[in-house]
């Protein structure tokens, strides 16, 4: 979707103001720690995947998305998912109290502290085979298709309609656009390089590398 999350190239957002690395803390408030932990542990209930969860954050009102801090966006996304997936009811969320019984198949998935290291260190690989042939080879000229999907996509607006060159091939990976709708489909994934002057104008001599799935592109 063309949401506020798709920030590449936007102006007017002010300076970055980075904190000096040696002075920066991992968290800036106690609640941020709990928001991170809740997002991960609730995710382990298996009621959504990473793209469903990204989409829940992205489809907030743009004003909310840009006003929120990072963990506020995580929290908003988590509340949305828990209610939409029926893990909690809107009334329970509003009251902060359990009203309905929780099905056993959900409580069985509650991860104990002893499982955390194992879950974090194994992660969740995202490669997935496909029967569809690989269309592009390294060095090929491509054009990103012009599209405006209302759902989740990982093709940023700033490269749509532009020409680039295939600079790497990663293999076949889960397609986010479908994954956000609960469909696990593998598709070929490439790294594509774009000339800065193509994307941003004549005085830009940088190269921008973007990972793009096969269906985002056509031969140039």
């Amino acid at each position: 979707m063309n949401g506020a999350h798709d920030l590449g190239g936007m102006h007017g957002l002010g300076p970055i103001n980075p904190e000096p690395e040696q002075e920066e803390l991992t968290f800036h408030a106690e609640w941020e720690k709990r928001a991170l932990g809740l997002t991960l542990t609730a995710g382990w209930l298996g009621q959504w995947n990473i793209d469903i969860s990204r989409f829940a954050r992205e489809r907030q009102h743009p004003v909310a998305y840009l006003s929120n801090s990072y963990y506020e966006n995580w929290l908003a996304g988590l509340e949305t998912l828990l209610v939409e997936r029926g893990v909690i009811s809107p009334e329970e969320l509003a009251q902060g109290k359990a009203i309905d019984p929780t099905p056993d198949e959900l409580t069985e998935k509650c991860a104990p502290a002893s499982a955390v290291q194992g879950i974090l260190s194994s992660g969740g690989p995202c490669d997935l085979e496909t029967d569809i042939p690989q269309t592009f080879q390294i060095g090929d000229k491509i054009k990103v298709i012009q599209f405006n999907p209302i759902g989740h996509t990982r093709a940023p607006r700033y490269v749509r309609g532009h020409e680039g060159i295939i600079s790497d091939y990663y293999g076949s990976f889960i397609l986010p656009d479908e994954n956000a709708q609960g469909n696990k489909i593998g598709q070929h994934l490439y790294n594509v390089s774009f000339d800065g002057n193509q994307l941003w104008g004549d005085d830009n001599d940088t190269t921008i590398h973007v990972d793009l799935w096969q269906s985002y592109m056509e031969p140039a």
């Binding site: 957002l13 970055i16 980075p18 920066e24 809740l38 509340e79 690989p125 990972d211």
Partner: protein, 214 residues
């Protein structure tokens, strides 16, 4: 859409600390979340998984040519062999800074970041201005970090739009030929592995270490 069905966006937002507390107590009451598991996650990213992991990878690449070749060819194999596996580091690609090429990593669409080697991302990396301008004005972004590159060095920006996670292999600072990998690690900052800064020079390290002494 969850909490904000009814209010418009001129309402003051409710306090996130209170919302998180209420949500945690609800999920614990419903038997869905173990608060001790949350403690364990926090401790992991506060004390165990952080940019020192990445610094060890970089210092080894600077001192072990075979490891460096493997790292650039098959970063997964190289990094996983050092025990840095798991969440947000399942698929890794390492991009090397050279005398003519400087690399910078961003995630314009969210905040993808190689957790296994760098830990959780800093606030600025997740901020809207960084995500907006890293791709369109990387020189301006580098300048905000006090980084200027020689004229003939070109910039490559890596936008993390898939589950591939990027780590920059910074240039080894001059005057460190006789340094061991353990000594070199201290020169490898988190920011140099994102690409907004260069690795520390021995002189800069001296200043930092002097300032850290009580």
């Amino acid at each position: 859409m969850g909490h904000d069905h009814s209010h418009d966006h001129t309402d003051p937002p409710s306090d996130p600390a209170l919302r998180v507390k209420a949500l945690e107590s609800l999920l614990v009451e419903k038997g869905l979340v173990d608060p001790a598991a949350i403690d364990e996650i926090i401790e992991t990213y506060e004390t165990k998984v952080g940019p020192r992991n990445g610094a060890k990878v970089v210092a080894r690449a600077w001192t072990d040519p075979d490891f460096k070749s493997l790292l650039l060819l098959d970063a997964n194999k190289a990094i996983h062999s050092m025990g840095y596996t798991g969440r947000q580091g399942e698929h890794m690609k390492v991009v090397e800074n050279t005398a003519i090429r400087h690399n910078l990593v961003v995630c314009t669409l969210c905040s993808c970041y190689p957790w296994t080697v760098l830990g959780l991302p800093p606030v600025w990396y997740k901020s809207a201005p960084y995500r907006a301008r890293a791709v369109s004005d990387p020189k301006g972004v580098l300048a905000e970090f006090g980084t200027t590159l020689p004229k003939d060095v070109k910039i490559s920006v890596w936008d993390s739009t898939s589950e591939m996670r990027f780590l920059v292999l910074p240039l080894r600072p001059e005057g460190t030929d006789d340094w061991t990998a353990t000594e070199l690690e201290k020169l490898v900052t988190r920011n140099s592995m994102i690409g907004v800064e260069q690795a520390l020079t021995p002189e800069k390290l001296q200043i930092i270490e002097a300032n850290e002494k009580p």
